[in-house]
Subunit: 180 residues, 3 copies
Amino acid sequence: MMATRRDKAPMAITVFFRVQTKIEKMVDLTQIMDDEVFMAFASYATIILSKMMLMSATTAFYRMTRKVFANPEDCVTFGKGENAKKYLRTDDRVERVRRAHLNDLENIVPFLGIGLLYSLSGPDLSTAILHFRLFVGARIYHTISYLTPLPQPNRGLSFFIGYGVTLSMAYRLLKNKLYL
Amino acid sequence: MMATRRDKAPMAITVFFRVQTKIEKMVDLTQIMDDEVFMAFASYATIILSKMMLMSATTAFYRMTRKVFANPEDCVTFGKGENAKKYLRTDDRVERVRRAHLNDLENIVPFLGIGLLYSLSGPDLSTAILHFRLFVGARIYHTISYLTPLPQPNRGLSFFIGYGVTLSMAYRLLKNKLYL
Amino acid sequence: MMATRRDKAPMAITVFFRVQTKIEKMVDLTQIMDDEVFMAFASYATIILSKMMLMSATTAFYRMTRKVFANPEDCVTFGKGENAKKYLRTDDRVERVRRAHLNDLENIVPFLGIGLLYSLSGPDLSTAILHFRLFVGARIYHTISYLTPLPQPNRGLSFFIGYGVTLSMAYRLLKNKLYL
């Protein structure tokens, strides 16, 4: 790989060059996190995923306080045999949280996938952050509208904002980087 | 970090070298998108995620046209009090779309995760594209089979093709890059 | 971009430099897979996603052996007309597998998203591997507890370990890389 050299000057440069290259390689992976768009995506994605995880805790909370369970082994502490079986039921509030959770999954999964690829496609920083903020805001408002519940079209509107943001990122991604 | 230099020639090279390095660092992140396998993955993943998002719109469409709702606040426009409650019901067609949507989630999430890591593990371009095309084709055919509905084994077959493609990528990934 | 050069020595170096740069660019993408934390994440993520995919096969297995179906087109081989409709029912065991599958989705999606970003944020290798191992172990134990079923708090405990691991990664990620 080394070209033949007859002078001494390049030798020093080559050494310097190799050191530089090695340092560069080591920081290579963390470089991805120095990219502002990617760092913004990482922050917003982590926030919205943590919010989604709260839905599990909310379901568990309502199941415990309302004594509404889906599995026989979960309600043995409340009674034996037939007495326990009466807690195997569905409840409006628990079902509401579960629907909100499933809706989160259905919308956050496309945001994660498309958003990650969109962040790597070199978008404008302010445009990208606008997308991320709108999505995270809309999904948090969606959860509030679903669980309160607020009258429509609060929930419908917040759903469509999140939906539109993801489609907008998908459109920009495919426009720039389509490779089939 | 700089080696001592006594001649002038290397100075020019060093300056040139630094400029080059800086440019390289700036384009570093977009380089990931210059990789053909990754670009192909990004395109197919975005397409299949957009298809999955269509299922939300399809559910909303059937809920509106068939007046089948899951939440009391969604059907207040159709009547007050007890009159509205009759729209809180389940419907075969709506449940069918929801099952198709959940099946999409259950299969597209592993494809996204495993496919992303597989794309980064340096696979052969044509092999990778074959995997992506088969998966996307199979999932689109799965949705058509589920919603029409087509008689079995149309849906079963399309499910197993998508399933097999994801497992094949998982196998190649673990064979090359297992690190526990 | 090229500085004017009057001597011949740098020419050789420039050529060498360009070759080196080109090689570097080509291996750039596979470098991400040379990172030990990322490789470990890829392995554990692939394993847990493959485990999740097994739930689809388990559901299919129970549906076939217990003749419990959700779609009319799935049970035509067992009888015509009204005779087939009796197989459109729900079954405790099938519903149990489906709940375990949905719980997997709800927990593995945040792990994938947060774990990927956490892996790229340059964590300590042993800390990262501890997180991944705990999560994968806890989720496998969760599935065993859910499907056997084992008495509580087996399932509850395994759920909270996986939940805590993901939150711990989210916390470390946001602490280091918050960019809103």
